[in-house]
Symmetry: C2
Subunit: 564 residues, 2 copies
């Protein structure tokens, strides 16, 4: 009958590779059925339990728990008695080479190093990263379980010094052709990647390689970088680096969907890169395949495909927009729609760069307009909604209400752009331009006289056969001064060009030199990362790291304070 | 000084066109500055107020409110005194032609009619629609403000009789080349549209025409059809009609994103159409450009473009799948991922057809798995999440935990498919297939012996240069019996083919004859719709409709009960 025995080693720290090797070593001993070697966190104890390694022991997250299931009690105890021997065997091998015991010593040994890789347990990681920044090194922070407060302070500090903190929980980067953390061997090329998703970057870079193209740099940011608290600091730095890097022709940005305010800021930054940007916000409802220099891919392999296509179409690489020709209009957008779906489609695009945005048909509840009769900041109204149509004709038939609202919005000097749709066809007004064009002309005229910069952007939906005359309607609205499109996304893009402020992010301080020399690095944590860098031909020094103060939290915090 | 005067006519019903015309008539009288003529709902009173037509009057939603703003009190009163004259002028014109006063009479006059258009005010609309169904007519229900309970009962009744109820709040349809409600004049062709979005259908059909293609039928469903309460009854009927219609080669489905359970059902129906379906769930995060016969467009003009492209690529029209060759596996999916983004990307696709779906990294909170250690129904686990990696190597480096979980899932006879990813490259396990392949082989072998139908679908991410050997890894996993892909979406599609039950919806009773003859209709409500049908050459009879019992609710409900 199987017997399970365990041993607890209080407060013992070992690197996860060593724990894995110890577990494997135990499992191969005679008459041992299974073994588990873990730090005794509640999650790990649950996992042992689920795997049939019952472990009803008194141990905490800082304790090493060794469980052996064997054919007999003797076999289990024999196995446990060999733990030290197995650990020592491993250690003596590791200490064959001389290794510095601190980051400072490692830097003395390899002063050309510009990068520090950190993969120590989460609670020690922020302190090591802070040291690295003090020594003016860029940080690749693989460790997870780092607090968001630490992330904010590390990234703010790094930003101020023109340094990068990739992570925490950054799985992947490729810097100057060398993969950090988990990374695929891909040829160098003209596609740069910035990503808050490690496997996303791996899938995209592999697909780029397998399509015959290559990667200039792949800059990981850590999964939380696009959260509001962090404000995409590393992503914006990454975009600035790739914008300035002469070897990068196309940029791929990959992440889960960011919050609205962060997205608006990021989209401005991406738009000002001067290079096409393939946006892959996995799980994001892209408003179009293409708005200005932004290309939206629906998934990872699609992102690689799109980037490769952009690279092979020479013309797409020169971003035709001369955004400096006309400074952005200061002011708000007001959208007055008769078609609900057109309003919704427009908002999907507008919310990319306009924040905040309000509506009586919001995409998310936070966008809900309190009073449909009163616009506030950027507002899109669907005038075909119930509140506007009870006992009244639909706005496609009767322009009265919309014309009144238009006059009201146009007289508001905080308004820079008014967007309207005109839907032609059976059932609709027989000649909408006959009523809309004079109103537009009058409003633009009044605005000009008042020195109020106002644009009217319109979407006309109709077939060439519609009785109202598609071409005639477009012509009359254009003659009245409106900017007229037949596609919502083109209209949205026009609004973007009018309103979107040129961001300064592309002008963030950037240490381009670090992206032009051979990678030289210091590794603190998992030895496999040291070995992987060495195997790729990079110069690297491994720090023989141990938790400070033997893992004693109070003492650690004291030491930390004494240093700063 | 401007003076505002008003008049209230209690309980007076007029069609909205007449109100609009009265308002216009008043506004052109001498010394009148502005006029408002509305049913005195709170929303309408707010709108009058916002437009400067103050109306502090005692009037309710059933009352007609007439407000005149004029240069003098005399001018205002003069204008109001002419209301009856203006109304009579309009009426006498309308009554020149003989018109039936009931639906029954209209049907006697035009027995070939198969369609009834209804655009009376919302609270009367359900009753008229019920009459139409009693007379075995298809219904185009333009009216809004119809309760969801009425919608459910009308649509269930219609479904049972093989009839369509398009609406309520259905703005648009094109049946046999004739536009109902708001519709554009487009050539007939091979693209069929089913849509819960009126302007969406208008934008798509116009774009199809302007691209040189044509529309077979455009079947509106009303904006709420994809809500859970309705369960997409009309959409599924529409898909069944287009699936059976020999003139339709490509189908476009347009709507806002449906709820998960409705989406799963709809996607099954769409997949079984035997024709390519362009899915345009505006504001939906499409998992890919293409899964099986489903093509996801990002917006309305993109939908038209995609449909046109599919039509011009002959090969896409024959849906290659032989889904009958192998009946669907009964059972659940379990996904065990090492890459978080791959898990997320897979779930975006899986949730299209697998419901319910649970995960420790849910896309929406409702998908959250209570206990990551225990799978339930369809479950996707990201084993790289914190709960699995504290003091333990990442699953890309150490397969131990995943192999244990795999064995556990494979032994569960409720499981039909297990999905796993393998991410190669620097930092990852040096030879993952050496550990995974034997486990897969053993599990499949065990399943076979137990008569348990089990498939293992895998995604391998890597470049051809990776040290593990991309081809070798794929080969060994394939040799072990796994179905291996290098792209998440292809893997998802494979899972769909294994699991997706063939739906019976395509076999819904369909009155195809109504879609093959010239459209003959009866119009109850807005006269402009009658005029528009007549102008398009359709035979149509207008019902001279008035609210039953003069709009008296109690009497109406009594009359309604007496009839049924």
């Amino acid at each position: 009958m199987a017997v399970t025995r365990n041993e607890v080693r209080a407060g013992a720290y070992y690197d996860s590779v060593i724990l894995m090797q110890l577990q494997r070593g135990l499992a191969t001993l005679p008459d041992v059925i299974d073994a588990g070697v873990v730090m005794a966190t509640p999650a790990n104890c649950d996992l042992l339990q689920a795997g049939g390694l019952t472990s009803d022991v008194d141990a905490g997250p800082d304790d090493l728990l060794i469980v052996v299931k064997a054919e007999s009690e003797q076999a289990a105890l024999d196995a446990i008695s060999r733990v030290d021997e197995l650990l020592t065997r491993r250690r003596s091998r590791a200490s064959q080479a001389f290794r510095p015991h601190s980051l400072e010593a490692a830097i003395k040994q390899l002063p050309e190093s510009r990068w520090v890789l950190i993969s120590v347990p989460g609670r020690y990681a922020a302190s090591v990263a802070r040291d690295a920044l003090r020594f003016k090194r860029h940080v690749f922070l693989f460790s997870d379980n780092v607090s968001i407060d630490d992330e904010v302070s590390l990234k703010s500090e790094a930003l101020a010094q023109g340094l990068l903190v990739m992570g925490p929980d950054c799985g992947t980067a490729i810097i100057n052709g060398v993969g950090l953390g988990f990374a695929n061997r891909v040829r160098r090329g003209a596609i740069g990647i910035v990503g808050a998703s490690g496997t996303g970057m791996q899938a995209i870079s592999s697909a780029i390689h397998n399509l015959g193209y290559g990667v200039s740099q792949a800059i990981g940011t850590g999964g939380r970088d696009l959260k509001k608290e962090i404000g995409a600091i590393t992503t914006r730095q990454g975009l600035a680096i790739l914008a300035n890097d002469p070897n990068t022709k196309v940029i791929v940005l990959v992440s889960k969907p960011p919050e609205a305010s962060v997205a608006a800021d990021l989209v401005s930054t991406a738009t000002d890169c001067g290079k096409p940007v393939v946006v892959t916000f996995i799980g994001y409802a892209a408003p179009a395949r293409h708005i200005g220099p932004l290309y939206f891919s629906s998934n990872l392999s699609d992102a690689a495909q799109l980037a490769a296509e952009l690279l092979s179409v020479e013309s797409s690489l020169s971003i035709a927009e001369n955004r400096d020709a006309r400074p952005a209009s200061a002011g708000y957008l007001r959208g007055l729609f008769s078609g609900g779906t057109l309003a919704y489609e427009a908002m999907l695009g507008l919310q990319l760069f306009l924040h905040p945005l309000y509506s009586n048909v919001p995409i998310v509840e936070a966008q809900r307009l309190t009073d449909p009769v009163t616009s506030t900041k950027n507002t899109v109204i669907d005038m075909g909604e119930d509140e506007f149509t009870q006992g009244r004709l639909h706005p496609m038939m009767d322009n009265d209400l919309r014309l009144r609202r238009f006059a009201q919005e146009a007289a508001d000097e905080d308004v820079a752009v008014i967007m309207m749709d005109v839907v032609l066809g059976e059932g609709a007004h027989p000649d909408p331009a006959s009523e809309l064009a004079p109103a537009i002309e009058q409003a633009l005229d009044r605005a000009r006289r008042h020195g109020h910069r106002l644009d009217v952007v319109m979407i006309v939906v109709g077939s060439e056969e519609d009785a109202q005359g598609l071409d005639e309607q477009v012509e009359r609205l254009t003659a009245a001064g409106a900017i007229v499109f037949q596609d919502t996304i083109e209209a949205v893009n026009s609004v973007r060009e009018i309103l979107d402020p040129k961001t300064q992010s592309a002008a963030l301080p950037v240490d381009l030199a670090a992206f032009q020399e051979d990678l030289v690095a210091i590794n603190v944590g998992l030895e496999t990362f040291h070995d992987s860098l060495a195997a790729q031909g990079a110069r690297v020094v491994q720090v023989e790291w141990r938790p400070p103060a033997g893992g004693n939290e109070a003492l650690m915090s004291l030491l930390d304070k004494m240093r700063t």
